[in-house]
Amino acid sequence: MAASTAAARGARAPAPAPAPAPARTAGHRWHRLDRTVSPYLYLSPFFLVFGVFGLFPMLYTGYVSFTAWRADRPGSQGRWVGFENYRRLLDDPFFWNAVKNTLGIGVLATLPQLLLALGLAHLLNYRMRGRTLLRLGVLLPNVTSVAAVTLIFVQLFGRDFGLVNWFLSLFGVDHVDWQAGTLSSWSAIAAIVTWRWTGYNALLYLAAMQSVPFELYEAAALDGASRWRQFRSITVPMLRPTILFTVIVSTIGALQLFGEPMLFSQQQDPTTGGSQHQFQTLALYSYNQFWGRFKYGYGAAVSWAMFLLIVLVAAVNFLAARRMRGAE
């Protein structure tokens, strides 16, 4: 679509050349050169940086994933093994465990986060005093670092002296060892992500809500629709593009979780994701293959599998959201 508008613009642009210009000065030529070259000049830093430090390494990782390269074995660098690494991946229980953990934490982190954000945005959309202050309040968690936040939450989720367990004990809940269990560690990590990103998503939703015409609500109210009905039948459908955007972005973020599970771990080797690998995500697993075991070829295959999973999940989300729209 952008291409077609560009073409249309080009066609509309006043053609400078056909005018009778026998005495074209150096200034003129310089001017034309300026107009044709400048755009590419201005874009070149991005494409240079991305090409060298983004695209090339990515393709190189693809190449490495077809080799038996191990950093601790000299000479293994160029040994081509075809799809061997990928075949081994399918039989690797730790890989599937990491897939399961990544998806599990992803669901626990994304769903509540977006639902809470939707509710929060709805409330922030009321006319009220101190709205800027409230917005600042909900966005503040987002500017803190993964490292700092995770260490704070490690303390909050401590088994013996953590505030969360103390709070739960007020309701008669026994001390939970948050790191030890599968579901408990997933929940704690998901809580970190949710805490950081709910306010950010709420602001995105709020922006979209503010462009919904008030008349729609007035008309619905006249027809006797309840507040909840209005929210479901007007707000949510009008927000669908924004919801789709946040679902895709937070899914991609959740599938790449690294800092949170790494720093949440109290093990000697933080890349194992807990004593039973109960919260080892794909990003941690690939890191562990690379820097813990020096298996470059295998680690590269894990990275590419992770990328394919991200594309797959994003595509499924996209299609699901599209179908929801079609169904109404």
């Binding site: 952008a2 560009a6 991005f46 390494p57 990782t61 490292a147």
Partner: protein, 282 residues
């Protein structure tokens, strides 16, 4: 902000319930940070008391000096400041120029190039991490040097897209055409028209970039060592000992977050506007 004020649509006024729920939400948002302050101003034994202490104590200064004495936090802060400052200046400049080109200049291949920029935002960091490390360590010999953090981050797709979205509406085509008529070069237009108009978005992008760079963990963890750390690396090192002094760990977390928190309090309003504008302009 002007957009918000001039809107004619009416809104429902909040009742007590709305304030109450939002109040709880903001408390939950702020509590972990408040609690960091509590822990950072007390001793390790005090924060391991049941029922827990909930008010700040008097040891903040003592803990801060301890953290600086026990770790390389001073070097780490200088490093992080250099990296985040350079990256921010570079990203803001390259994004403004590139965003202007996409928004307002006509050139062959604009559509596909823009689409490819958006597509690159999907690529996860992990995908290129090994070759990137090999390039840095073996080809450029930049491992453990700050340029390994700066150069790959010197331009990014998000910034380019962000500035394009803003400049589409902020710079009138008529003004550019008039400038051309008067014989202004593209560089002249950038200098006299684009940069002044882009200033609000540049400051928001600058703030977001600074925060992201300051807070980055994954790539510094790979390419830097504890001999030449960034703030986040020092922080993770502080927490990795077997027996931890949590009040010191959380003091470190507080110190590491302080510059970003202060900047947020100063610029928060613009950042919120920036995020919300980015959300509505398709």
């Amino acid at each position: 902000m002007s957009r918000g004020r001039s809107r004619t649509t009416r809104q429902l006024t909040a009742g007590r319930g709305v304030y109450a729920v939002l109040g709880v939400a903001v408390l939950l948002s702020l509590f972990p940070l408040y609690w960091t302050l509590v822990a950072a101003s007390r001793s390790n034994t005090e924060i391991h008391r049941m029922p827990p202490v909930l008010l700040p104590g008097g040891r903040l200064w003592h803990n801060v000096t301890q953290v600086f004495a026990q770790t390389d936090l001073r070097l780490a802060m200088v490093n992080s400041l250099v990296v985040a400052g350079t990256v921010t200046a570079s990203v803001v400049l390259t994004s403004t120029l590139g965003g202007f080109a996409f928004a307002k200049l006509r050139f062959r291949g604009r559509g596909p190039l823009l689409a490819s920029v958006v597509a690159t935002m999907m690529v996860p960091t992990q995908l290129g991490i090994i070759p990137l490390y090999i390039m840095m360590a073996n080809w450029f010999h930049w491992a453990d040097h700050l340029q390994a953090l700066i150069v790959p981050a010197a331009a990014n797709a998000f910034g380019l897209f962000f500035m394009r979205q803003y400049l589409l509406g902020a710079v009138p085509d008529e003004l550019l055409d008039a400038g051309r008529m008067d014989g202004c070069t593209t560089r002249g237009l950038v200098w006299h028209v684009v940069l002044p108009a882009a200033r609000p978005a540049m400051s928001v992008l600058g703030m977001l970039t600074f925060m992201a760079s300051w807070n980055d963990f994954y790539w510094p963890k790979v390419v830097m060592t504890q001999q030449n750390p960034t703030v986040q690396l020092t922080l993770s090192e502080l927490a990795s000992g077997y027996i931890k002094d949590y009040s010191l760990v959380l003091t470190g977390a507080l110190v590491a977050s302080a510059p970003v928190l202060v900047a947020f309090l100063l610029m928060g309003r613009q950042i919120i506007d920036g995020i919300m504008q980015g959300a509505t302009k398709g």
